[in-house]
Symmetry: C2
Subunit: 496 residues, 2 copies
């Protein structure tokens, strides 16, 4: 069985227990006529061919595939509003879609939901270099937001490996975390305002809100991380930070995860305001990456149980390098590190990051991977990886071919208490799945962790929220969904 | 007429149009028996004497005074829960109270509401120095949280002039901003989890949540800034930052508000990661303060139209001072500043801050003050102060006695687009009030600003939200209130 064919199995076939909600109308020619009446030709694709709509129906992990025949690309908030009002009045189900880079099956249809793509809403609306307030349409690609702000000596306060595809609106809808949350904080703090079209077509906007605004409940917060289940984000106002003038990094090898934590405390104290990332990888992550980057010289002399990449960013290269050099020297002197190197120049800095950024594609390169994204108290962070690896090893599933698993590895953002668990496999099997779930979720629940640190809920984790949330929280969440979307037409079969 | 008698007029008398909600039960002896059955003697004060309960019935500005005869001080979440369930079942109105330092009449009763003080819930629950997660009861005084964290080489990510009295829970309930928001961001980003008792006594808790958690709608956000209208915050988990090892400040004189903005852009670019406060004061603010601090030597040679205090905090004193010195020199060279001084030592740093921190008591020292707290786009920030001063001047109300107004001044947090307007008066008069309101609110609405940047809504601004929020936002806010508190017993007559 090969993994990752060009088409994923239809979600409806892979999960036969999930049934289409019969209260949703099946789209007919009158509906299509209506959409044609409000949209121009380049704002609509209608097709019966799975190939033609594959990039909209299927997620990028190729794990989920829906069966929509209609994708709408409105280029204005008013058109989004008309579409939603019509769909709500006619009980047509809708899945909002940004760059379609999510990892939990949140942004593709399950059955025949209309796909509402934001990609034609791609304009920067405003930037105020004095306050740093950046306003844009939801469909602006993150890379373009970064470029625009860089040209104005600022940065978008978030970066992700999917930056070339993901949308600003999608990032906000999924409350993405990314590589620099440690420095710039979460979107709940950085998003200043949102323009949202509600399921009934009403537009609720706080896009002109200022940095401080204490006039009532902060309603916009509910849409951050709601994955398009209670409204369609059409515009975002976000606080951009001043662009750092200096960047540097060290890459080091460490014996134990306890020492990784000690090093983090030391970095917070000594690098403090210039510390912008503190990432760890275990031995297995780097073994996969060495194979994947074949030929690229490894920055360290020896191999270690753990590796850490520390990034600094600040306004003065000389000061920053002095701090980082002093930190590295004293960490080596005190034996916290077995080995460590500091980037000599920009190219070297990029090379060090390559060893971190290549872990996911490296793990995926053997055929496919099972992927979990969790947060735990730091003292417990690596334990979930150890527990999972032990379990899979005891079942005799890890090793050379024909064993199905190449490696079970852990890496992630120490600064945020966030571990990614990648099970690199030659093939997906029901046996592996059965060993992983619900074991992983139960383990996280026992440690009071989160079963989704940054990837969200989507289709994959619907029904699993009780591992991280209490009954009363889930009840109140359901109330939120019912209040905003009483017909349940927005992103159905997912989330809550 | 003297201002600030030891007792404020009863709110019920000062605002006769506000009527007691007749659906609320009047407390009787059976109710008191119940509270005595679940609370110990030091958790309850019952009194018919206005003097005895004055500090709970009256706000610290002495503008509002309620008529409660009962203050409860439960020392556990479970007791808060029992109290709320009983009050909800019996339709007894309740006002939650922290340090009672708010500025909008939010934390005192209007009529006979039971006062639910959190001051007996004053324990630190947990601190993890690795992640920086600090958990405490809501009633911990901010000063004590600062002290605890300072002893552990961290800082509470917020500071306020009322730090000796305000509670951590109160600060979260009112989404307070304060002096270092520019550096550490808002509570919506820093609060990791909350424990909240709902009006019906149910406990909803996310206090064990980790830094990253994307498992559903972020319900806790609604309680941040809700001013105790939909639940009583009993516990807070918040991200503490590493304690800066170095602090410094410059104080400077500037000709125009345009130049203040230019200087801010320069500071963001050059001081960047060590910039922790950028405060401005106008000429009038400092004139009042010079009188108030009589004898204290003024740090500058001359007087100016505007003054700016810039604070840096970082991990390396030599580096920080070098950056700050270079910034000051180049700002003087390029004539952005007319004059500027840098603190020579810790005592000097404290003295420079005294000129900023003394503005509010200075304005209040002539008898009293009208106080507004607004946010605006930076380009418009000072214009509201100019417009108000012009209006009051044209009415001939500003000048030496017997004119009622001493000065109308503006100062605040440039970094957050937040201006405080203080009208220092010899007496409060209906004529001044009539000139100020609704003029101030209408002016802010015309510039799309916020009529409450950080002080909140409370009793003072209930009914004024439409100046900053749309009809649909207000409708959704009312839905939130009705959903969580269908009997409306929690902090009635206020907010929405």
């Amino acid at each position: 069985m090969t993994v990752q064919p060009s088409f994923a199995q239809l979600t409806a076939e892979a999960y036969p227990k999930v049934k289409r909600n019969s209260s949703f109308k099946v789209i007919d020619s009158a509906d299509k006529d209506y959409f044609r009446s409000i949209l121009s030709k380049d704002e609509i694709i209608e097709s019966q061919s799975p190939e033609e709509l594959a990039s909209f129906n299927q997620d990028w992990m190729k794990k989920y595939r829906g069966q929509s025949n209609l994708v709408l690309f409105p280029n204005s908030t008013e058109k989004v509003s008309k579409i939603m009002k019509y769909c709500n009045d006619n009980k047509l189900a809708v899945v909002p879609q940004g760059g379609n880079t999510d990892l939990v099956g949140a942004s593709v249809p399950v059955f025949d939901e209309i796909i509402l793509s934001l990609k034609n809403m791609n304009k920067v609306r405003d930037f105020d270099p004095v306050s740093g307030t950046f306003k844009c349409d939801a469909g602006v690609v993150m890379r373009d937001a970064h470029q625009f702000l860089s040209d104005h000596d600022h940065i978008f306060p978030l970066d992700l490996p999917s930056r070339n595809n993901c949308h600003v609106g999608g990032v906000v809808s999924t409350n993405a975390g990314g590589l620099n949350l440690l420095r710039y904080g979460s979107l709940h703090g950085n998003v200043l305002g949102l323009e949202v079209v509600l399921p009934n077509g009403e537009i609720i906007s706080s896009i002109n809100a200022l940095r401080k605004d204490n006039t009532g409940y902060d309603l916009k917060q509910l849409f951050i991380g709601a994955e398009g289940t209670i409204g369609v984000i059409t515009g975002v106002s976000i606080l951009a930070a001043a662009k750092p003038k200096a960047l540097n990094a060290i890459f080091c090898g460490i014996d134990s995860f306890d020492t990784v934590q000690d090093l983090f405390v030391k970095a917070k104290g000594e690098l403090s305001e210039i510390l912008s990332a503190f990432e760890f990888m275990d031995r297995g992550s780097i073994e996969c990456t060495v194979e994947y980057l074949k030929g690229m010289p490894f920055p360290l002399q020896n191999h270690h149980n753990f590796y850490v990449l520390i990034e600094t960013s600040g306004s003065n290269k000389i000061h920053d390098d002095e701090k980082l050099h002093a930190f590295l020297s004293s960490a080596l002197d005190s034996k916290l590190l077995s080995e460590g190197v500091m980037a000599k120049d920009k190219a070297d800095y990029e090379r060090l990051w390559t060893w971190r950024k290549s872990v996911p594609p490296a793990c995926n390169s053997y055929g496919g991977m099972y992927k979990y994204d969790m947060s735990l108290q730091l003292k417990d962070l690596y334990s979930v990886s150890e527990a999972v690896t032990k379990r899979l090893n005891e079942a005799g599933l890890i090793g050379d071919a024909p064993k199905p698993i190449v490696k079970s590895v852990g890496y992630g953002h120490v600064g945020d208490g966030n571990i990614h668990l990648n099970i690199a496999v030659r093939e997906f099997t029901k046996e592996i799945e059965g060993l992983l779930e619900p074991f992983v979720y139960e383990y996280i629940a026992s440690k009071k962790g989160s079963i989704s640190a940054e990837h969200g809920v989507g289709f994959h984790k619907k029904g699993h929220l009780h591992y991280s949330r209490s009954d009363i929280e889930i009840r109140f969440m359901k109330d939120v969904k019912n209040h905003y979307d009483p017909n349940g037409i927005l992103n159905p079969y997912k989330y809550i």
